[in-house]
């Protein structure tokens, strides 16, 4: 690494992952909207035979949005941010470039096979870990390749200090590696049973309560290290860069990081309140969930304070709007989660629609908004063209914000109604309502949720179109914008 006068950042891998983010985002949200509609209008279950039922499509929706859309977004932004904060180009290392490309193609093929096998009905039957063992093996290899890229880039860096975003990407890498390996410890039955049954089938190595504990240690921390940590990594880079303001307090970002690492891993047992796990473990899950507000709000407030004195940008730049709203939804979601983890609240909330309501104000409001903002920010730099339409971006923002609000408010009302009806007893102690009574009452809220899904999906199509036009037909840029992303009216 002598002279770097003619050197440029190489975005070829980041571009590939950008395309899959858009592809899987559309597919995952399309299926999500369909299954939300099926809950409101059950006859929609019978459109494609066994392939169109809610039970077959639900794991497809969750897996595609987690492992397809979000992970593609994480990889796309890493291959962009990683080079820039380390001040080193992938073009400088043919080895890392090759690893990056193998990483992408193996990931893409693995993801496609995952989609096909889930659609065919192969499932390990563990929530968010439905992919069967051969695909798990591919995912592990993909993950190791990403690790080689992360630590390889760090190894050849010019910038000695690792920027806070990189800490979060590393935490995502290590956290998911540990969680995924332990939760997917499974026995392929075909080989153990001497050639009986399907080669694809497996059973968990754990059983009973232990299986549930490992599952929710994984399930909750998949949210932590897949939906929180890498998205915080993004906001710590893209908001300062787009606004031209350095992060408000770097020390606070470090504190929040270690606080989050320390607390998050202990909160998973809040998924098992009032179950057969030891009582102290349930209490620990509740307490750690409440404590989790501190590091989460530490990051979110740090982001909002980064805009101090520059709030005019909120009205002028829709990209700032996306990121500020994402941070705000992060605050809402990380306050709502701990409230649901309090034992007495959980007694009402558990198994109700308030839970998917909570999940979606986090994923739609925080995760997706941040990923879309990151892709919009990267587009003019990667493709050397201005963003195609500011007006379209504004429309998309308001459409999707309305969608998120409709989604979580309808699910709040539905969930609490449901929880109260399940518990209601008459003066003799008999249950007052049967299950179908709740379904009848909840129907309008399910219809509102389906509408919210449709609005959000429409917004995502606008995003995809805006990105497509940016890449192919927008005005070319002479030089790279320093801060604010250029966009046509």
């Amino acid at each position: 690494m002598q002279s770097n006068a003619s050197l440029e950042y190489d975005y070829s891998v980041a571009k590939l992952f950008t395309y899959t983010t858009i592809l899987f985002g559309f597919l995952g949200m399309l299926i999500g909207t369909l299954i939300a509609s099926q809950l409101a209008f059950p006859e929609l279950n019978y459109m494609f035979g066994e392939y169109g039922t809610f039970s077959r499509l639900r794991p497809l929706h969750t897996n595609i949005v987690i492992f397809g859309f979000t992970l593609s977004g994480v990889f796309a932004t890493f291959y962009y941010v990683g080079q820039r904060v380390l001040k080193v180009s992938m073009a400088e290392s043919p080895f890392l470039m090759t690893i990056g490309k193998i990483h992408f193609w193996l990931y893409f093929v693995g993801a496609l096979v995952g989609v096909i096998t889930l659609a065919m009905g192969f499932s390990a039957s563990k929530e968010y870990a439905e992919l069967e063992w051969p695909i798990d093996v591919v995912i592990v290899i993909v993950w190791v390749l990403w690790g080689v890229s992360i630590f390889g880039l760090i190894g050849i860096r010019r910038e000695k200090a690792l920027y806070i975003s990189l800490w979060y990407y590393i935490a995502c890498f290590l956290g998911i590696a540990m969680l995924y390996l332990f939760n997917n410890m499974e026995v392929p039955t075909y080989f153990v049973a001497g050639g009986i049954g399907s080669v694809m089938h497996s059973v968990s190595m754990y059983s009973g309560t232990n299986d549930a504990l490992v599952q929710w240690w994984y399930g909750h921390n998949a949210v932590a290290f897949g939906f929180t940590v890498p998205i915080v990594a993004m906001v710590y880079y893209y908001l300062p860069k787009e606004s031209g303001q350095a992060v408000y307090s770097y020390k606070l970002s470090l504190l929040s990081f270690w606080g989050l690492m320390f607390v998050y891993l202990w909160a998973g047992s809040h998924h098992l309140l009032w179950s057969t796990v030891p009582d102290w473990m349930q209490t620990m899950g509740s307490i750690f969930s409440v404590v989790l507000i501190l590091p989460s709000w530490g990051s979110a407030i740090n982001m909002l304070l980064t805009m101090k004195g520059e709030w005019n940008q909120l009205t002028e730049n829709p990209l700032i709007k996306f990121m500020v709203l994402a941070s705000t939804f992060y605050m809402l979601s990380t306050l709502e989660g701990p409230i649901q983890a309090i034992k007495s609240v959980n007694a009402i909330a558990h198994f109700t629609d308030w839970i998917p309501g909570h999940v979606h104000d986090g994923t739609l409001g925080w995760v997706s908004f941040m990923i879309m903002a990151a892709l919009f920010h990267m587009a003019p730099r990667m493709f050397k063209r201005e963003i195609f339409s500011k007006k379209l971006m504004e429309t998309q923002f308001w459409l999707q914000t309305t969608a998120v609000v409709l989604y979580f408010t309808s699910m709040w009302i539905a969930g609490i109604t449901q929880g109260m009806m399940w518990r209601a007893v008459d003066e003799y102690g008999n249950l007052m309502y049967s299950f179908i009574d709740t379904v009848t009452v909840l129907h309008p809220y399910y219809a509102i949720r389906a509408l919210a899904g449709l609005l959000y999906l429409t917004g995502f199509v606008m995003f995809a179109y805006n990105m497509y036009k940016t890449i192919t037909a927008s005005k070319r840029l002479e030089e790279e914008p320093q801060f604010r992303s250029p966009m046509a009216a």
Binding site: R84, K87, Y237, P240, K241, L255, F262, W280
Partner: protein, 69 residues
Amino acid sequence: MGTAELQGYASFFMSLFLVVMLYGYILHLYRSEKKGEKDYEKLGRIAIDDEIDSTPVNSSDPKSKENKE
């Protein structure tokens, strides 16, 4: 004492230990900045000054003075 109870106590004392570590880290951050040994806030510039040819905020070049950070 049963295994579950033992695990409970182990979890409590480990939490206590990690709390002490975290507060120790906070003290370390503020003290080292007050003594002038480190300037954490300048690291925030890494994100906004990220051109490939711009001077690193903390250089990885061993000859650089900045390397002492």
